[in-house]
């Protein structure tokens, strides 16, 4: 069971859990802003640019 869950985690998330957490936060942020009446379609595309840059910058600094 544990090995199966680890395999699923590795398959979807890989070695960068911060990016996965960032995607969850961006989705939650969009839902919160929308429910407060703020237009928020731009939040996830912006998060994608930031998360990808962060992930690659981490690789570059190694």
């Amino acid at each position: 069971m544990k090995r199966g869950l680890l395999a699923v985690w590795e398959f979807i998330v890989g070695d960068d859990w911060v990016t996965a957490a960032g995607v969850v936060l961006a989705g939650a942020g969009t839902a919160l802003l929308q429910s407060a009446g703020v237009v928020a379609w731009w939040l996830i595309p912006l998060a994608v640019a930031i998360l990808l840059t962060r992930s690659l910058a981490r690789h570059r600094s190694r």
Binding site: V23, I44, P45, V48, L52, T53, S55, R60
Partner: protein
């Protein structure tokens, strides 16, 4: 066919092409060095296992309400797509080895030869060829199944996604049978880059949609998203690519 359906078909077709090419290389390597019969049994077992996974997950995914499905699947697809895109950007920038089917074929062939004599399996089946072929098809196929299920259920068109996937697999297998060699001529690294952009764009679109956002221009905004994601990725490649050291600095 609408624009979003065409984008879905192209995305699934390209993703499945690269996965099928990778699985084909593994099967060719063990088939040509060990046993074609055992390798083909392995392929059959891998395909049957995949069919079982799809049969189990497909109806379960399809029964989830669309709003929840878009958030969950959009989020998963975005995380998965960003993983693809990160590797593709690193390859394009020269910071990660390019995917080379000839080199993988040579490595797999060497491993198959080094694995010793025929390993007894069920009856006259070579267990090594069977296992490696089955594993290759199953692991590469799982990515295909994930993409087909997520794209198909979100767009309410599993049939179109499955057709695009089947077309890719048939074309790759036919080409592999014709040339009897790994399909090294296919620009796999470029396709992986494009697929990374498409998976991330679709994931972004569905996650935001499921979270309650309204895209300006509705489905047409997907094209803008693809352009945005591609521009970010290309910009990051330029930023990461090592700059050649200036001659003056080399003298110093």
């Amino acid at each position: 066919m609408s624009g979003s359906e065409a984008a879905l078909a192209v995305s699934v077709f390209l993703a499945c092409t690269v996965e099928a090419v990778e699985a084909l290389t593994i099967v060719l390597a063990v088939g040509s060095t060990r046993s074609w019969r055992s390798a083909l049994y392995g392929v059959t077992a891998g395909v049957l296992a995949l069919a079982a996974v799809i049969a189990a997950l497909g109806p379960a995914v399809g029964s989830i309400p669309l709003g929840v499905l878009r958030v969950a699947v959009g989020g998963l697809l975005l995380v998965f797509g960003l993983q693809w895109l990160r590797k593709a950007v690193l390859r394009a920038a020269g910071l990660k080895a390019l995917h080379d089917e000839q080199a993988i074929f040579a490595r797999e062939t060497q491993r198959a030869r080094g694995a010793g004599g025929r390993r007894p399996g069920l009856g006259s089946i070579d267990a090594y060829a069977f296992t490696i072929a089955c594993k290759g098809v199953l692991l590469e196929g799982l990515e295909v199944a994930f993409i087909v299920l997520t794209f198909g259920t979100n767009q309410h068109d599993v049939g179109l996604a499955a057709t695009a996937a089947a077309a890719a697999v048939i074309i790759v297998v036919a080409a592999g049978v014709a040339v009897r060699a790994p399909l090294a001529q296919i620009p796999e690294n470029t396709i992986k880059f494009i697929v990374g952009v498409l998976l991330s764009s679709f994931g972004t679109f569905w996650l935001a949609d499921g979270a309650g956002a309204h895209w300006p221009g509705a489905d047409a905004s997907l094209l803008g998203l693809i352009a945005w994601t591609a521009a970010c990725a290309i910009g990051l490649v330029a930023w990461l690519r090592p700059t050649p050291t200036a001659p003056l600095e080399q003298v110093r």
